[in-house]
């Protein structure tokens, strides 16, 4: 393998994992932007989506239909979460919101343990994605390609939505100034629901990619990815959609770089370094790389 190929390979790995983080982080950023809510339960959307897929495939539904069903289920769950748990506490202190989402996570994960049993199940990877492709010495799996392709399509689509549609512009406006959003007549409930639906659908896609990559589905599978996605949103600036995407890819790069740089005895600590990075970013640039400095919003 030449040095150039090595770089390309590493970059591909970083972009593949970064795509998942970015897709997950977008939903966190959208919701935080408008409501100041750090939604820990975001990770459980991908768990529920993965189970829906498993059951749908087991019921004989074709994979691509099951895929759509699963994404729809994630979006629906996100919307339900907002209606049932987050709307009653809207506007309260940020820590209260955070704790509420903690409660929702516990509820969902344990309900999943009750409903699906705690054991790990294999992910039903379709034939089309299980291939491995070689270009020179660079290796790419079908899942990596799927991650790249879906991230590309979804990010372009999302960009169109938030810049070209009334709903998208309203969403950005509400994230920036809630009072002004009220005063120009934005129907906030609708915008918040849309943010949850879109963010959760993206999380659903990311979740399937994650499950496909790890090959495993279990009730607690959402926690690690959501923590990582959270690091990504913090790096990019909590509440900034563009920042979340940037943060996702930077985190992917950082992980691949750490993996390459750390001596073999320390690679197990890689995620620990990721979280040290999180704390450092919080200390040095609490509003992230793209986030704007702002006073405490009342």
């Amino acid at each position: 393998m030449t040095l150039a190929e090595l770089w390309v390979q590493q970059l591909l790995n970083a972009v593949s994992i970064g795509s998942m983080y970015a897709l997950l982080a977008i939903g966190l950023a959208m919701v935080f932007g408008i409501l100041r809510l750090i939604n820990f339960a975001h990770g459980d959307l991908l768990m529920v989506g993965a189970y829906v897929l498993i059951y749908a495939v087991a019921a004989g539904i074709p994979f691509w239909v099951a895929f759509l069903l699963s994404v729809a289920a994630a979006a629906l769950l996100g919307v339900l979460m907002e209606r049932l748990a987050y709307r009653p506490v809207r506007g309260q202190h940020e820590v209260v919101l955070l704790l509420t989402s903690f409660g929702v996570t516990m509820l969902l994960e344990n309900s999943a343990i009750l409903a699906f049993s705690p054991r790990t199940r294999p992910f039903p990877l379709p034939e089309a994605l299980s291939g491995v492709y070689h270009v020179g010495h660079v290796v790419m799996s079908g899942i990596d390609l799927a991650a790249l392709a879906s991230a590309l399509v979804l990010l372009v689509g999302l960009n169109l939505v938030v810049t070209r549609t009334k709903l998208g512009v309203s969403m950005r406006a509400a994230a920036e100034d809630l009072t002004a959003a009220h005063l120009v007549g934005i129907h906030l409930d609708r915008v918040v629901l849309a943010a949850f639906a879109i963010g959760s659908a993206l999380a659903g896609v990311a979740g399937l990619l994650w499950a496909a990559k790890s090959g495993r589905v279990e009730p607690l599978m959402g926690f690690t990815p959501v923590l990582k996605a959270f690091v990504a949103t913090v790096i990019g600036g909590l509440g900034s959609i563009g920042g979340a995407v940037l943060g996702g890819y930077l985190l992917g790069l950082a992980e691949v770089a750490l993996q390459a740089v750390l001596p073999p005895g320390l690679t197990g600590y890689r995620d620990g370094f990721v979280f040290i990075l999180l704390i450092l970013v919080l200390l040095v640039r609490p509003h992230g790389l793209l986030g704007k400095a702002e006073g405490d919003r009342v």
């Binding site: 512009v169 950005r172 009220h182 005063l183 120009v184 007549g185």
Partner: protein
Amino acid sequence: MTAELVLEDVHVDYGGVAALKGVSLSVREGELVCLLGANGAGKSTTLRTISGLVRPRRGEVRFAGERLQALSPYQIVARGIVHCPEGRHIFGGLTVQENLMLGAVQRRDAAGVRRDLDWVLALFPDLAQRLKQRGATLSGGQQQMLAIARALMARPRILLLDEPSLGLAPVVVQTIFRVIRDLHRQGTTILLVEQNARQALAIADRGYVLESGRIVSSGTRAELEADVQIEKAYLGA
């Protein structure tokens, strides 16, 4: 029914502290009414109550005979009551154009919106050259113009203006007041809150004076200008 805005014995509390203690006032269709008073008298609170940002503890807010106090802010905007808040509150990260389009966020008449866009850009030519610029990059005066223009994009039946001249250079203040006067002459109903009492009164039909949450005086421009007390307290004789 004419589109009259009526406040009747409105009481508002902020965290247990009374901000409004029984405010009653009315703005009839086509009028320019100004609300005068010192800092903390409750002027902004009155506007925030009308636009639904705060709920009155007691009393009634009616527009064209309909009670407003149970409605959400977006529903109140839908009734044609548009509040241009103190401190401008433009969306700094969004472009001027996006800000203006958000002003018309509830409107479905694309042709009308386009016409109104041309109209507000004619009112504030400064903005026309900066449509693609982010709001945060505008000067204070331009931001105020954007805030008023954005409110006008909703095609208000009544416009609530909160301290439009605050912190602006005298030249800009002149422009803003000229636009307000023109809007009034073209038939827009306006409730204007101002600390700059003399200038506000000069273009108003009527006025109210608020003091610690109560209306202490009211009358036509001539009556208020003749009132010695007001002269002393607010017009800086």
